[in-house]
Structure formats: C-alpha cells, structure tokens
C-alpha cells in the first residue's frame, strides 16, 4: 500500500459517507479521470476499497491538488503526493472553493469528453457561475454542496456501474413538470475502467434546485409529538401541534408521485409467482431476524400469518417504479407543499433491485412505519417506558397520523386500500422485522420501537 493509499485509508475512516468504518479494509486502487482544470489541478478520482472478506467498493472522490497546505481546508486534507515535481497536497474537492467552482463551471459549459459528461436539463433555472459552493451539513451516504440559494449538487460517493435511480427519476419527473420533487438541473456521469478492467458507466453527481425554505418531515413530526407529550391532552386531536392535516397532505403528495412514476416509467403486474416470491422473501427475512434477535421468536407465528395473509391479495397486483426508501426523513415541507427527495432506493440493495418495479404499498408502509418511529423515539426521549399515559398518547399519535396519511393517499390514488389492506400490513410487518434486525445491530436501545410494532402486528391480525 503506497503512502497516499495509507493517507486515504485514514481520511475515509473519518468520513460519515464511508460505510466500512467498522470493518477492516485497505485502499487498493486510485483511478483518476483526466483533469477538469490544471491550476489548481482538479479531477474526479475513484478510490477502490477492499474488505478482508474480499468485497470491493468504489468511492468517488473529486480531488483538488494544492501546492501548499491551506489551513482553512484542514478537515478536507486527504494526503500528500509527490510525482517528481515536488510535494502536492490532495484535498477533497467538495470542501474547497476551487473544487466546487470547477464542477459548477463544467456543468454550465456542458463539458463532455470520453470519460466525463456534464449534462443540463433543458428549461430549468441554472445557478449563476459566481454562486459560491458551500458544503451542507453531514449526510449519510453522499455529499451535498449548495450553490448560492439556487442549486444543490449531490456528489454520489459510493458508485457502481449503471444508471443512478435518483438521477433517472428526478429527470423524468422534472421533464414531466412534477411539483413534488426538487427539479433536476443537470448531472455529471463518468466512464472508466475499474481495477479489474471492467468498463463502468455511471452517474456521479446531480444538480437540483435548492429548496431553500424547506425542513424535513421528520423534524416537523417530532415537534408535533413533543408538543403532544408535554401537553398531555385527552386526545392527540386536541394538541396544538397536531400533525394530521400535514400527514394527509403528505399522503396526497405520495400518491401523486406514484401516479407520475407509473406514467413516466410504465406499469407491470405481479402474478401469483411474483407475489409468492415477495411473501417468501418476507418469510425468509423473518427467520433470519428471529435467529439473531430472540425477542422476535414469540411473535414469529403471528407475523407469519400476516405474511401468508398477503398471498390472498387479488391478482394481478399493479406495480411500477417506487421511491423505495420512503420515510419522513425523505420528505421536505416547503412553502409550496410537500416534496419527496432521494429516489436512490435503499442503498444497501443491489442497483437492479432498486430500479425494478415494486408495489407502491411498500412506500406507503415505509411512511406509516416512520410515523411510529417518530412517535416512539420522542416517547423514549421522554424517559422510562413505565408511564402508560405517554405510551398511550404516542400510540394514538401514530394511529391518527397513519390514518390521515392513508386517507390522503387514498384520495389521490386509484388503489383500493381496503382490498390492499393485507398486503399493506405485510409490508409494514416486513419493514418492522427488518428494523428489528437493523436496530439490534446498530442502535440496541431503539430495538423496542420496531419490536413493539412486530408484536402489535402479530397479535392484531
């Protein structure tokens, strides 16, 4: 491992977007695309990381090389290289003005060569070249840069061969004139050969309109639950911070996005075989999680019944492209209503799966589970679980907002939620089971949240 590889190893280990912090890994390759500018040198680089189990993952790191250390970018210093002309310092370009400016200029100039293309979407309002790029606060898996108050550049960190659904969906919905997403202004895509000689072609970053006045649905929902738990009225409807009208509008917005996705990408149908495959996947997940988290076992029978119940869903089931990872944190409340963001799907799933048609009820279930999370996480922060009144109120909050969301969704959808109820319940239970597994491994103190849901779903059927 070269010394720069060593430097990068350290840098990656400190980045929030680097998914392998808890595993042993080494940097096995750094591949650079031709430079975008030369003074200073700015270029897109791909860092290949290999874990001890042999898994390889590629990260995109736009890099700027400075001749001297710049203390204001100390947090973005990745390492030192010496290619014979003397020492130069490699910085993560998203943090450095010269770096973000280069990316913006490349977009405005529609720069294209055999390795890298910057593409703009016609008819959208592009940012001004003079707009200064600023790193947004930490994000889970990508890095976002705001240009002035007009545009946001999302740099995809972990990249794999193929079209990125986030760009793909935003592009189609923008062209369609959807008001439910932040319009896509443009993107950049790269073509390069990886360490195994395989030719990759993928989206690397996207420029979107910046929804300056927005806040995410999770924060608004939490504010509502907090208000309820402090005020302790008889019913959530009497609390000042009632969220249900927002939840209903959020349901309408979700249904609208689903209609647009169906129109933009077409629909297909699940027949018996497909539905069985879905249910079998749920059952398999349940078995896996029940082995790891013993507390699930007592409810496994009930949950299985919920899954089996979904097999009776009338066929065929209409499916189309969906959001794939919908929850309150993927929604933005703006002064012009709700918008959905981040159409990448669940990053942990393979790209092909994320781009496949699926039941819109999976998104619906994602959201209703998210209401439960909002209520119960606020409830947990209010102290020990033995205050029955608080628990009751938190449950009532979830139920009230779940209903409101479904009402709004049903209003805007052709889907009959009554017929679809067993399948929706199955998706909710599946999601809760997945969450139990996730929390047990990552946030054990929160395991009680999905576990409680699993218990309820298992017994209420």
């Amino acid at each position: 491992m070269s010394s720069y590889h060593n430097d990068l190893h350290g840098y990656l280990g400190r980045q929030r977007w680097f998914a392998g912090k808890d595993r042993d890994f080494e940097v096995v390759d750094v591949a650079a695309l031709p430079s975008l500018t030369t003074a200073p040198l700015v270029r897109v680089e791909f860092v290949t990381v290999r874990y001890v189990d042999g898994e390889e993952v590629v990260y995109q790191v736009p890099t700027v090389y400075l001749d001297a250390l710049d203390p204001q970018y100390q947090h973005a210093l990745m390492g030192t290289v010496d290619d014979g002309d003397g020492e130069r310092f490699a910085y993560d370009a998203v943090h450095v003005k010269a770096g973000t400016h280069t990316l913006l200029t490349a977009l405005l100039e529609n720069r294209t060569d055999e390795h890298l293309s910057f593409v703009t979407v016609e008819g959208t309002a592009l940012p001004d070249a003079a707009d200064q790029g600023t790193m947004m606060t930490a994000e889970q898996s990508n890095t976002s840069i705001a240009f002035g108050d007009s545009a946001l550049l999302k740099v995809f960190r972990q990249v794999s061969d193929g079209r990125n659904p986030d760009v793909e969906i935003h592009h189609r919905l923008t062209v369609m004139g959807s008001t439910r997403v932040a319009p896509l202004l443009g993107w950049y895509e790269g073509r390069w050969r990886d360490v195994h000689g395989h030719q990759n072609e993928t989206h690397l970053g996207m420029f979107q309109a910046y929804l300056r006045t927005a806040t995410d649905g999770w924060d608004i929902a939490l504010a509502s639950v907090r208000d309820l738990l402090v005020e302790e009225p008889d019913r959530p409807s009497q609390a000042g911070g009632d969220f249900s009208a927002e939840a209903e509008r959020l349901g309408e917005a979700t249904a609208e996005v689903h209609r647009q996705l169906a129109e933009a990408f077409g629909t297909s149908r699940w027949e018996r075989r497909d539905l069985d495959r879905i249910v079998d996947t749920m059952l398999a997940r349940l078995d896996r999680v029940a082995t790891v988290v013993p507390a699930v076992a007592p409810h496994a029978e009930g949950v299985r019944a919920v899954f089996e119940g979904a097999r009776a869903t009338p066929l065929p089931v209409d499916v189309h492209r969906i959001h794939g990872d919908l929850h309150l944190g993927q929604t933005l409340r703006t002064v012009k209503g709700w918008k959905l963001i981040d159409f990448e799907g669940q990053p942990a799933r393979p790209l092909a799966e994320r781009r496949a048609n699926d039941s819109p009820l999976r998104d619906v279930a994602g959201m209703t589970r998210s209401f439960d999370y909002a209520a119960q996480s606020a409830r947990l922060s209010f102290g020990p679980g033995d205050d029955a009144r608080l628990t009751e109120l938190a449950n009532a909050w979830t139920e009230r907002n779940r209903r409101a969301f479904l009402r709004g969704y049903a209003d805007g959808s052709t889907l009959d939620l009554v017929t679809a109820a067993p399948l929706l319940r199955a998706f909710e239970a599946d999601k809760a089971v997945y969450e139990v597994g996730y929390e047990a491994g990552n946030r054990p103190t929160w395991t009680s949240i999905p576990l409680h849901a699993v218990e309820q779903l298992a017994t209420s059927g």
Partner: protein, 554 residues
C-alpha cells in the same frame, strides 16, 4: 415622517374607539376632547396614525357602521369643532388621523333612505337599489347568514324590495346613479377639508350589483375607487385610502389598482389572512402556515402597502377568509375546536394567549416586523383583557384602563352611566392592568411595546423592505430578513414553547455581523458555515445585519 409622501408605508397605526378611550365631560362616554387629552400618551408610545372607527350619527345597530349622516358626528362623542380640535392637536403632535367611511350602504335612518322610500320620484328616489321582485342578483351570497335570509327586504312604505349585502337595516346605495357618486365624493371632501389624513373604506367589494355575478369585485367598483383616488390625488395629496376587503390576497391586490403607475385605487389594503395564520403557526409550532400565506401573497404596486393586525374591533370569522382556497385553513381549523372558537374574534390578544407575556411579545414582534404597516388595537399595548359576557363585539370594546382608580380612570361619571363597564376580573381588571402602573414599570409590556416601535421606526426596511423567508433547519423557527437600500434586518422567531436551536444559511451576508437590536449586542460574524442560534420558548431576535465597522458602534 408627517408630510412625506408614502408616510403610510412606514407608519404604525393605532385603532382607537373614541367612545371607549377617555370621557372628558363625565357623561360616561369617551369623546373627542378625551382622546385629545391623551395625544401625549400616544405620541410617547410612538404610533403615527390613529384610526377611528365610525363617529357619525348612527342608530348604532352595527357599531356605527350604520351611518345616518355622513357630514356630522354623533352627539355623544362631541361636535365637529371638537373633532377639528382633535385633528389640529394630533397634527401638532405629529400624529395623523384617519376615519372609517362606509361606501356601500347607509343606515335605514339616513335622510337619503327616508326620502327614497317616501318619495320614489324625488331627488333621492334612485339613491338605493329598489325592485318589485326579490329574485334579482340571485348569485350574490348572503354574508350575514346568521341574521339575514335574503339580500332583499320588503319596504312597506315604498311598496318595493330594497337591496342590502349586510343587515336589512343597512340598505345598499345605488352606485349606478351618478348622483350617488357626487354625494359620496362630497361627503369625503367634507372630512378632507377638515384636515383628515385619510379613510379606512369599509366593505369595498360590494358597491355594484350585476346579474349573473356574485356582486363582488366588479369592474365598476374598481372604476369608482379610481375616481375617489383621483379626487384625492388632485385635491388632497398625501392622504391615504385603506380598503377593507375580506378576501384572499390575490383578489385584494386588485384594490391597489394599476401597477404601472404605482397603484391608482387604494393606497393600503388589509391583509386579513395573516392574522389567523399567525395564531395557527404558534399553535402548531410550525412556520409553514405563515410562510405559505406570505409566499402566496402577490407583489403590490410601489406606492402601496398592506395593513396587518393581530386584533381589532371587528368580528373576523374564518369563513370570511376561507371562501375558496382555503382548504388548508379548513383542514387545520375544522379539526381544532379551540382554534375555531378563538379566531372568531370577541377576544383580545392577552386573553387569547392566556396572558402569557412571552407570547404577547412574540406576536407583537411579528406584527411589527412582517410586511405591511402594523395596526395596533387600543389597550393591547398594556395587555388589556376582554369581557366575554358583554356579548357581540362589545367584549373587546371596554374602556381603556388608565389607572387603578374608579372607572379605570376612563370617566368620572357614576359607574352605572358608563358606555360599557371596565374589565374588573382579578387577572385583567383595571386594578391589575392599567397605563399608570405600566408607565411606572420599565419592564412592562407597555414600555416593551414602545421600545419595539422605536426600533421599528429606526429601520426603513421594516416598512419598505423586501421580505426574504430564510427557511432554516428547524420547522418551529420562522426566520426572515427585511431589506431596503442597504438596511438589512433579520428577525428570528421561535414559534414553539420549547427552547429551539436553528441553523441559518446567512452566506449572502458573509463577513457582516449580527447586532441584536434591543440591546445593541454584537453577535459573531457571519461566516460560510450555517449560523447557529438558540432561542428560548417563544423567544425572538431582531438583528441588524451590520458591516464590521458599523457593528462596533451599533
């Protein structure tokens, strides 16, 4: 700012009911001379313009909006000479005065109506809208559905139906009759000649009736308003017309008139939906109810201004603002009985906010900083209460509480003679809440309100500036900037009862400083990173966005 053009764009208005402010002659009713005595107080408070609801002779079946004579004042509030004295003294104090003027209708006691019903062929025969049938203009809705079943009422004297958009004792004037135009313009000139600084025009959308329309916002109505405006511009410059049109901002904006000339109808219009949205935003602990309505408020012509208020004398029901759109308000309010009840007025600010000083200050700070000229309601500056047992709108029209002495210092008459009894409950009664006590206490709501008004007046951005919603990371924190020719103020409002952090994107002012306005305290410089602020429950900040050199001295 007295004589400058556009004074109303920066003015702080103060609505005062003459009958309820101060009684100078011990007859139990407030009067012009009483109000005149209190001009020192109003000047000290810092308001710029008094708005007097109707002072005309009237049977008072609609709070004086049922005018029986446009060219006189009611006996109980004084004489025309007294009124002239008030105007002269007010002007000497640097205060302006506007009065209510009702264009649409008169009282059925007005001489014009009496002449019209008794002498159909006389000069006033055509002053009102008469018909043999009660089925014309069927598309015009009945506004006061609680008391009226039709817009037509039979008059046995004349043997015809007459048209009224409001109460049946308030017949609508017939604006298709040119003589009515002249009569109204003459009435306006009467007050303008006395030196009045303008009019608040009541119920303007309804002047005309046309078959097949709802009779609101008709082009003929706009034409007549343009005519009034032209009269003012030609003969009485720098007077103001403030329209009351209880409609959605996108409809109200038409009452400003032509953009190209900076507006050629009313100088000001009330922005009614802001008020309930403020209450909703604080109740929901969410900035969106208010952000949304401001986002959907259209631009207005350069010479114009919105009027905004928290409370006033009138009954403002939700129904009047939610005519069409409005599903938002319905979705929110219909489910919340407490909000529904609170918004139909009849309550003053302090009792509406459970007498919570933090909330009163937050609401007042919002009123004084949002786009538009603020209209304070008399007594709210000391946190006066109301008397819900008085019924109708009288509950918020109780006498101004000056002192803890008899009759709240409002009058030396026998208590039984007072126009309305002063509030006497233990929390809001005049022994607890009065001007004298609050004057003596520099940390009182009264002193605080005065300081806020003073600060507002130092910054043209509040009156004239653009409004920039800054969003921010926290949905419970409502942050906006006002900017006018280099004067930039930043207002950060915590709509939640809990302490809140907020991260703001202030990069457009990078390198400048925030200086808190009330204490001139300098906050850290604005850098590239999100600017972190923390606020106490219902707390707020007003900042000047200052250059480094200004910051040290600000």
């Amino acid at each position: 700012m007295t004589d400058e053009q556009g004074w109303y764009q920066r003015a702080v208005f103060y609505e005062v009911l003459v009958r309820c402010f101060l009684d100078s002659n011990s007859d139990g009713t407030g009067d012009f001379r009483g109000l005149t005595e209190k001009l020192d107080y109003l000047q000290w408070l810092g308001v710029d313009c008094l708005w007097l609801p109707p002072v005309y002779p009237s049977p008072l079946r609609d709070g004086g909006y049922d005018v029986a004579d446009y060219r006189a004042v009611a006996d109980d509030v004084g004489t025309i000479d007294d009124f002239h004295g008030l105007l002269t003294e007010a002007h000497a104090h640097g205060l302006k005065v506007i009065v209510d003027f009702v264009l649409n209708h008169t009282s059925d006691q007005h001489a014009w109506f009496q002449a019209s019903r008794n002498y159909p062929d006389g000069p006033f025969g055509d002053f009102y809208v008469w018909s043999d049938h009660n089925d014309r203009y069927a598309d015009a809705r009945v506004i006061f559905v609680d008391t009226e079943s039709s817009n037509w009422t039979w008059d046995a004297v004349r043997g015809q139906y007459y048209w009224h958009r409001f109460y049946s004792h308030q017949p609508d004037l017939n604006f298709d009759n040119p003589a009515v135009h002249e009569a109204m313009l003459d009435a306006l000139r009467f007050w303008l000649d006395l030196g009045i600084d303008g009019f608040r025009l009541d119920a303007v959308p309804y002047l005309y009736e046309r078959e097949g329309t709802n009779g609101e916002n008709l082009p003929e109505t706009h034409d007549f308003l343009k005519r009034i405006r032209k009269t003012i511009d030609d003969e009485y410059p720098n007077r103001v017309l403030l329209a009351e049109a209880n409609q959605w901002p996108s409809d109200v904006v038409d009452y400003f008139g032509d953009f190209a000339v900076g507006g050629d109808e009313c100088h000001m219009c009330f922005h009614v939906p802001v008020m309930p949205r403020l209450f909703m935003a604080v109740r929901r602990e969410s900035r969106y109810p208010i952000s949304e309505i401001l986002e959907s408020t259209p631009k207005i012509p350069t010479g114009c201004q919105w009027g905004i208020f928290l409370r006033n004398h009138d009954e403002l029901t939700l129904e009047m603002v939610t005519d069409e759109d409005r599903d938002y308000m319905w979705a929110e309010y219909a489910k919340d009985p407490r909000m529904k009840a609170n918004i139909g007025i009849r309550r003053r600010l302090a009792p509406l906010l459970d007498n919570d000083l933090n909330q009163m200050e937050l609401f007042t700070a919002l009123l004084l900083s949002l786009p538009g000229s603020p209209v304070l309601y008399y007594g709210d500056e000391i946190g006066m209460g109301d008397n819900i047992w008085l019924g109708d709108r009288d509950g918020v029209r109780t006498p101004m509480q000056w002192t803890p002495d008899r009759n709240a210092g409002f009058s030396t008459a026998t208590p039984g003679r007072l126009v309305l009894p002063p509030v006497q409950d233990p929390v809001f009664g005049y022994q607890a809440v009065n001007v004298e006590a609050e004057l003596a206490d520099t940390s009182s709501l009264l002193h605080w309100t005065r300081r806020m008004i003073t600060n507002r007046k130092q910054h043209p951005a509040f009156g004239l500036g653009d409004f920039i919603d800054l969003g921010g990371s926290n949905p419970s924190v409502f942050t906006f900037a006002r900017e006018y020719e280099g004067d930039v103020v930043l207002c950060v409002n915590n709509l939640s009862r809990f302490a809140q952090p907020v991260e703001l994107d202030l990069r457009q002012w990078q390198g400048r400083y925030l200086v808190e306005m009330l204490g001139h305290v300098q906050f850290p410089a604005i850098g590239e990173l999100p600017y972190l602020l923390t606020l106490g429950g219902h707390g707020f900040y007003w900042f000047v966005v200052a250059d480094p050199e200004e910051a040290r001295t600000a």
